[in-house]
């Protein structure tokens, strides 16, 4: 996840609209909060329940934050 967060801070090659970005940040914040609360990484269902969203919507929001091609190829080249 640290990997991912670094990625978001970097200039994102794909055009990501603000509401999607905000949702992705909310997902990360919720994940962190649950992590310290539970003392372990929360599952996607726990994060989804906390945000009153379907797990699929979490998947969509996080995907929108990433370039379509291979993460690692992009990161290394």
């Amino acid at each position: 996840i640290g990997e991912i967060r670094r990625f978001i801070r970097d200039d994102n090659p794909t055009k990501v609209s603000r509401p999607v970005k905000e949702l992705a940040y909310r997902v990360y914040r919720t994940q962190e909060r649950l992590q310290s609360l539970l003392g372990r990484e929360p599952t996607i269902h726990e994060v989804a329940k906390e945000l009153a969203l379907a797990p699929q919507e979490i998947v969509s929001a996080l995907e929108a934050m990433q370039p379509p091609a291979s993460l690692f190829e992009q990161a290394y080249h």
Partner: protein
């Protein structure tokens, strides 16, 4: 072990489809109680396999067909990526860290697949194609 869910996809070898397969893989994984981190890892493994088919299997010619099957069992997720492209002559060599047939590339795709998934099975025949099967085991008996 009974199959609980199964999705089959087939698409042309465009690089755009790497991203679509990746998001479908994540949406499929989200049926199980995985962490966001585990889902991220599955996405990376699937992207690496599909982009190998696009880049190496079909040499970036977007007319090849890639078949992508996702299976959910009680205790595991399976992702199977099939191409009918060039094939791999020496699988053991291809799996080696930093081996790439292309000097410009990192040669880490199979290493990521192997470290992010619980099982990686590669079958290939030169001139016929390549099948990559990846398994992610699921802890059962927990939540859900």
């Amino acid at each position: 072990m009974t199959v609980k869910n199964r999705i089959f996809m087939s698409f042309t070898s465009n690089s755009e489809n790497v991203g679509i397969a990746r998001v479908a893989a994540a949406a499929f994984a989200a049926q199980m109680d995985l962490t966001l981190n585990e889902i991220e890892e599955i996405k990376v493994a699937v992207s690496e396999a599909v982009s190998n088919s696009v880049i190496h299997g079909y040499g970036n010619d977007n007319k090849g067909i890639i078949e992508f099957t996702m299976m959910l069992y009680e205790d595991r997720l399976e992702y199977i990526i099939v191409d009918h492209g060039k094939g791999i002559a020496d699988i053991a060599q291809a799996r080696q860290p930093s081996y790439s047939s292309d000097p410009e590339r990192m040669g880490l795709g199979f290493v990521f697949m192997e470290s992010f998934m619980d099982e990686l099975i590669i079958e290939s025949q030169v001139g016929v194609g390549t099948t990559v099967k990846m398994v992610k085991k699921i802890q059962t008996g927990g939540t859900h």
